[in-house]
Amino acid sequence: MHAQSPGRFVVTRIRDGLGILLLVTVVIFLLGYGLGDPAALMSPVDATPEEIENLRRLLGLDRPLYVQFVDYFGHLLRGDFGESLWQYRPALPIVLEALPFTLLLTATALVLAGLLGGINGTLAGFWAGSRFDRATNFLTVAAVSVPSFWVGLILIAVAAVRIQLFPTSGFTGWQSLVLPAVTLAVVHGGRIHLLVRSATFEEMTKPYAMVARSKGLPDRLILWKHVLRNTSVTVATTIGWEYVRMLGGAAFAVEVVFAWPGIGQLMINAANRHDFPVLQCAVIIAGAFVVATNALVDIGYRLMDARLRVA
């Protein structure tokens, strides 16, 4: 039905991504200007109603909403997300300082989760029903059932306090990365494991897998040459989409637990101070990143898949 060449798909996908981003900014804008009152939020606590009204006029909040949005959006396009109410400097650099930390943490966690879930999930699916499969099975379902921030707390309690192996929080060097990354990797690795195992198992039930066995090929060959060749796209995109999912939630809560100076920590600080420009900026920047990642994964999936499944 959606008959599209890969080239056109890339173009439409990027166009859609930009559309989604626009939608995100509209939502963010509405949240701020439709539901909240930025003037009240930005005023000092002892401001009089007159002062707030003045500020409202000064900020142009008395204009029609759509005019404000065009104005707001125009500023965004110029990279102007407004001034932090708390840090006395523009919001954008504040967010951009935090972004690399979030990326570093999530990327590391994803590598761990991908290795953990990808390899073990493939093996579990390949040897479905084996002792290895059964052992990982329950652990995996359990891993996706616990809140990641809780895992983080428990890890802190155990790894940092009892064994004193790793720094407990903040960012003091690469060792600081270990605990938060492992925390994220546990939950997301579990999900990757689950999905990859399922895909692998499905592949194993296909007739060609039995044909491969009927040829007398060793397991190693069946796995690497036959099964992985067919699941690799699924595995790769599963991991990709898991990254998007990670950025949709767990990453930020884990940042807070480990005081990791990323977007999540920034958001919570800004939330506590009603620092609206920073909140908006963080959501939009993170949103842009997520949308871009999503588009990349989709495009990658489409291209890889197209290579495999023409016709």
Binding site: A128, G129, F201, M204, T205, K206, P207, Y208, M210, V211, A212, R213, S214, K215, G216, L217, P218, L221, K225, H226, R229, N230, L308, R309, V310, A311
Partner: protein, 340 residues
């Protein structure tokens, strides 16, 4: 049998644990295949014909809870006693298999040449280049035009008939002693079926293989096999030469089979004589004859006692109380000039 059989299956019994109970897929099945011989196995879905052959190589779907007992002697070795690694030496090298659906039996992501070559490299230790050269020869042997180029194509570039030829090339790559063809033409068009069957027969002759032809279509069996096993409900209910089974069936099921489906040579107004009821998998405890519920000749003891194996002629054995009583079911009506 004078010759030492190539494959000698003795008291093979295969059971699956299913949510509904113990499925007796194959029960006490014994048969043998001589070198260079073609044996046909005919039966409906669930009769156990495919499971029997998959059990020979212990090829079961993942997670299947299966129990196999008996003996599968291949060249004197019991395959059921072999380790997985030892069995791998047999699979593909000494016994090749062709499956029903060529659309799904080929790995969609692997060039067909590679799918042929890998067996050669695994079993014959051929180099990449040599295996590839041999794969092209095999493609040519099974009738794929322009094999050097097409070896690099992925399966989706081939039609159904072509894919089945490729499957055959894979199965015979290592020149196995035995080729098991499990409904090799059921998924194919009738015009392609003939070509594939002819190809199989030719290859069997040229390579000196034994062939086990599994089919639900008596026509296919009649066209390819000398000896036939008729399976029903996990049993071999009758065995014998094609002539015997077609002309003088001993078991009511075999007799009914010959009249079940319309025949191009039959008069059109001749009514079909159906077998009542439905074929059902044998689950849970059973007693008596498994065909009893649908049999037109059913007697009281059929329901209680397992029927004996009765030899009706040389090599012609029927598993039926009727045969024990010396009674034959009515043979298929023979249309004028239709059969010799």
């Amino acid at each position: 049998m004078i010759q030492e059989p190539l494959l000698d299956v003795r008291n093979l019994r295969v059971r699956f644990e299913t949510p509904r109970g113990l499925l007796r897929a194959v029960d006490d099945v014994s048969f043998s295949v001589a070198p260079r011989e073609t044996v046909g196995i005919v039966g409906e879905s669930g009769s156990g014909k495919s499971v029997t052959m998959l059990s020979v190589l212990r090829l079961f779907p993942p997670l299947a809870r299966v129990a196999v007992s008996g003996q599968v002697l291949f060249e004197g070795t019991d395959l059921l006693r072999l380790s997985e690694a030892e069995l791998r030496e047999v699979r593909g090298a000494k016994i090749g298999m062709v499956f029903q659906d060529p659309l799904t039996s080929l790995n969609p992501a692997l060039p067909v040449g590679e799918q042929i070559a890998e067996s050669l490299r695994t079993h014959r230790g051929l180099s990449r280049v040599a295996a590839r050269r041999r794969a092209e020869e095999l493609l040519e042997l099974v009738g794929i035009p322009d094999p050097a180029r097409r070896a690099d194509d992925l399966p989706y570039r081939f039609s159904g008939g072509m894919r089945q030829r490729i499957m055959i090339a894979i199965a015979i790559a290592c020149e196995p002693k035995l080729l098991i063809a499990d409904e090799p033409t059921s998924a194919l068009d009738v015009t392609v079926q003939a070509q594939v069957l002819v190809l199989l027969e030719r290859l069997q002759r040229e390579l000196g293989m034994s062939l086990i032809m599994i089919s639900h279509d008596l026509g296919v069996i009649a066209a390819t096999s000398r000896r036939v096993l008729v399976m029903y409900g996990g049993w071999i209910v009758e065995r014998g030469s094609v002539e015997e089974i077609l002309e003088r069936p001993g078991h009511p099921y075999s007799a009914a089979l010959t009249r079940l489906v319309p025949d191009l040579d039959q008069p059109r107004d001749e009514p079909l004589v159906p077998i009542p009821g439905q074929p059902a998998p044998v689950v849970g405890p059973v007693g008596g004859c498994r065909f009893a519920a649908r049999c037109a000749y059913v007697m009281d003891r059929c329901r209680q006692e397992t029927p004996p194996a009765v030899a009706l002629a040389t090599e012609h054995i029927s598993l039926c109380w009727l045969s024990a009583d010396g009674v034959r079911p009515a043979p298929a009506p023979i249309p004028a000039g239709g059969r010799r």
